[in-house]
């Protein structure tokens, strides 16, 4: 394992054309990631998913991306041919997309899809492939995995779809996992089990993790470091343990808007979007 950082990102920009000219939705993002866990939180539309996609060079046209530096394990991702980039995706860098069912192939069974993800990475006998797929579905807490392997994506529930996507992205044992709202459809107990599984891979296999989520408690618990994004920029960067002492008014506003188990407020506080400068 090299000592150089897993991922280095400097001045990442993503823009889209609009009637008023090109508008940047990611405005100069920089960070360095080791074999550790980075959380990205922030308002809807703040550029979290676009940041994840840009690392994999998956920003769709007419969107454009650009960075002063984008290096993964010493490889300059900006200069990589599309073919080599494709080899990297799914094998060494995986992304769990925010729209799991949309990302699954609708005409292939769940079992076939996960098996395919595994085979692109490893040569295994047919029987071993089946066993690994089954084992992976169990690991993400799918009940009755044999039945589920034979189902098509439209036949699984929202939370099952998310876990299937996670299984598919973890099975090739990537070096870097980008997880975009991976557990938003899961209740807390299943969520914890799935995130513990991801955590295990970070600890034991040295995987790097970028966890994108709007759940502040979740990132505080499962990450080492946190970036808070707003309107394409990082407005706060802190150790996960410090999130609850965050000082930026935007971060404070987010924390106040979380409903509580013993809720008594008639109305939840919302962000006054004019309260902070710069946007």
């Amino acid at each position: 394992m090299s000592q150089s950082p897993l991922l280095e990102l400097e001045n990442l920009r993503v823009s889209f054309p609009t009637p008023k000219g090109r508008v940047e939705v990611v405005k100069g993002l920089s960070f360095t990631l080791g074999r550790e866990r980075l959380g990205i939180v922030g308002e809807s539309g703040s550029g979290k998913s676009m940041t994840g996609r840009a690392i994999l060079r998956l920003v769709r046209r007419p969107g454009q991306q650009d960075a002063d530096k984008m290096t993964f394990d010493g490889i300059d991702l900006r200069r990589l041919s599309e073919r080599r980039m494709r080899d990297l995706r799914g094998a060494r860098i995986s992304m769990i997309m925010q729209d799991p069912k949309f990302s699954l192939n609708p005409v292939m069974t769940i079992g076939e899809q996960i098996a395919e993800a595994l085979r692109t990475h490893e040569r295994l006998a047919r029987r071993d492939v089946q066993a690994r797929v089954l084992q992976m579905l169990e690991a993400v807490r799918i009940n009755d995995p044999k039945r589920v392997m034979a189902l098509y994506p439209h036949e699984v529930s929202g939370g099952m779809g998310q876990r299937i996507m996670i299984a598919m992205m973890l099975i090739p044992r990537p070096d870097l996992l980008i997880a975009d709202e991976p557990t938003s459809a899961l209740d807390v107990s299943v969520q914890a089990q799935v995130l513990d599984l991801i955590d295990e891979l970070v600890r034991d296999k040295g995987m790097g993790l970028i966890l994108i989520s709007h759940d502040l408690n979740l990132v505080a618990r499962y990450c080492d470091h946190i970036l808070v994004m707003h309107a394409g920029q990082v407005v706060e960067s802190c150790a996960a343990s410090e999130l609850h002492n965050a000082t930026h008014p935007y971060t404070r506003g987010l924390l106040a808007a979380v409903p509580r188990m013993e809720e008594t407020r008639e109305e939840l506080p919302v962000l006054d979007r004019s309260a902070w400068s710069g946007t």
Binding site: E43, S44, K101, V156, E181, A185, D187, H214, R260, V270
Partner: protein
């Protein structure tokens, strides 16, 4: 009057029965939550009520009228559903403007322009989103369009499947406040699926808890304050969600 009444509802997909003997009543103006294990049949129940899961037996009554086994178009103006998956539920080639004005057109409602603008504002979307297509929106922006579409026809009953789980907490707060206000002002009834117990605590009066295709408990939302749940599955869900099971005071 009861807004939604389910009696002994069994729902199957082909040979597999996924919901068994579900029964509950939701009063008019009530906000009722359906929580429970992933894959336990929550979305399936909403789909059956909306006429999208045709293979069921038992009784479903909405606003006093028994439901048939298929989609009924007059039904749409009284009862609307927001789907769990905002990606699949928006037509990829329809702009936000078209998605929102079409139901008005079909039902012969005028003043469409102003209504669309007002609704976008109500769900916290800037007017620059009005002529965009789904692929030009973030996850949370799409979900807000889906909620806006359901509200366009001013239905009496809303079936909400994880309406805010794709949203960040600040937008979630805006949407939940909006739903609460509409309920207060227009007496809407909500049947809402969510895995988030604090959201239930904020939004709902009662909750049904599902586990492996069955309703294992129906409890008042106040149980989230004092932990008074009967069923072991509910108790574990509550404890895992950060509820304090020893608070029975």
């Amino acid at each position: 009057m009861t807004a939604i009444s389910l009696k002994n509802l069994d729902i199957s997909y082909g040979p597999t029965k996924v919901v068994e003997a579900a029964s509950f009543d939701v009063a008019e103006g009530e906000s009722f939550a359906l929580v429970g294990e992933s894959g336990s049949g929550k979305s399936t129940i909403l789909k059956a009520i909306a006429g999208l899961a045709p293979d069921w037996t038992g009784e479903i009554t909405v606003l006093g009228q028994p439901r048939g086994h298929s989609v009924d178009h007059g039904f749409a103006s009284r009862c609307q559903m927001v789907f769990q998956d905002p990606y699949g539920s928006l037509h990829p080639r329809k702009s936000v403007d078209r998605v929102l004005s079409e139901p008005l057109k079909i039902h012969g409602i005028s003043n469409r322009d102003a209504r669309v603008e007002d609704m976008l504002a109500a769900v916290g979307l800037d007017r620059r989103f009005r002529f965009r297509y789904p692929h030009q929106l973030s996850g949370g922006q799409r979900q807000r369009v889906a909620i806006a579409r359901a509200l366009m026809l001013e239905p009496k009953v809303m079936l909400l499947d994880e309406p805010t789980s794709a949203l960040d907490v600040s937008v979630q707060a805006e949407i939940l406040n909006l739903l609460k206000k509409l309920r207060r002002e227009q007496g809407l009834t909500y049947l809402m699926v969510t895995h988030n117990l604090p959201v239930v605590s904020f939004m709902c009066d009662r909750m049904a808890v599902m586990h492996k295709g069955r309703i294992v408990e129906i409890a008042p939302a106040s149980a989230l304050h004092d932990g008074r749940f009967q069923d072991p599955y509910t108790q574990s869900l509550y404890a895992a969600s950060g509820g304090n099971p020893d608070r029975k005071d």
